[in-house]
């Protein structure tokens, strides 16, 4: 069974600094998709970034980028120039093939941004 592990229950960062959130996963599939979702106190799960496993290039969305290491089954999220609005729970998720397959989530990392 596929599993997703987030080893950092909590992280903190100073405003304007950079922080990296870790995620590892276990799968025997060769084609899959990885996601980072953000869940602020408002509860709505918001897509931050997605990575297709067949793409070697790391995905980037503005201040958010990933370090995807397929052989190591690692998928970390880097947030640059952290802002107060980045404070939230961050969940790493995995799915096979197309994104309509079920998502398997990690337990999340709570990110605090200090002014």
């Amino acid at each position: 069974a596929q599993t997703v592990t987030q080893s950092q229950p909590e992280m903190s960062v100073q405003e304007a600094e950079t922080v990296t959130l870790s995620c590892t996963y276990d799968t025997s599939e060769s084609d899959y998709y990885l996601f980072w979702y953000k869940q602020p106190p408002s509860r709505q799960m918001i897509l931050v970034i997605r990575q297709e496993a067949y793409k070697q290039q790391n995905a980037t969305e503005n201040r958010f980028s990933v370090n995807f290491q397929k052989a190591a089954k690692s998928f970390s999220l880097k947030i640059s120039d952290s802002q107060l609005g980045d404070a939230a729970m961050y969940f790493c998720a995995y799915t096979t093939q197309g994104g309509s397959e079920k998502l398997v989530f990690g337990k999340g990392t709570k990110l605090t941004v200090n002014p």
């Binding site: 709505q44 918001i46 197309g98 309509s100 079920k102 998502l103």
Partner: protein
């Protein structure tokens, strides 16, 4: 463009009761997935509906059932509620292209079972 909507926002029930939660997908989406998120945990997949049929199911008992309507909206029904069913229930929608679709989530329904 309306996103995924869910109703109600909050719900309080007692053990043994039945509950129905509702979800309207994002415009243009035809697939609805339901997740249960216990406090302090990541979401767990319950089931997914496509073309009005259950397409996939997670490890949840038969007390959890669902339905999808011709307009792609969906309901989640839970019978014989247990205290352990207290959780945030999230609905996610996507367009089933099989390749590049991403699931977009609604704001969730907080269910409390007393």
């Amino acid at each position: 463009d309306a996103g995924v909507t869910q109703s109600p926002t909050h719900l309080i029930k007692t053990r043994g009761q039945q509950v129905t939660l509702r979800c309207s997908p994002k415009s243009g989406h035809d697939t609805v997935s339901w997740y249960q998120q216990a406090l302090g945990q990541g979401p767990q997949f319950i089931f997914q509906y496509y073309e009005e049929e259950e397409r996939q199911r997670g490890n949840f008992p038969d007390r959890f059932s669902g339905h999808q309507f011709p307009n792609y909206s969906s309901e989640l029904n839970v019978n014989a509620l247990l205290l352990g069913d207290s959780a945030l229930y999230l609905c996610a929608s996507s367009f089933f292209s099989g390749i590049t679709d991403t699931q977009y989530f609604g704001p969730g329904t907080r269910l409390t079972v007393l």
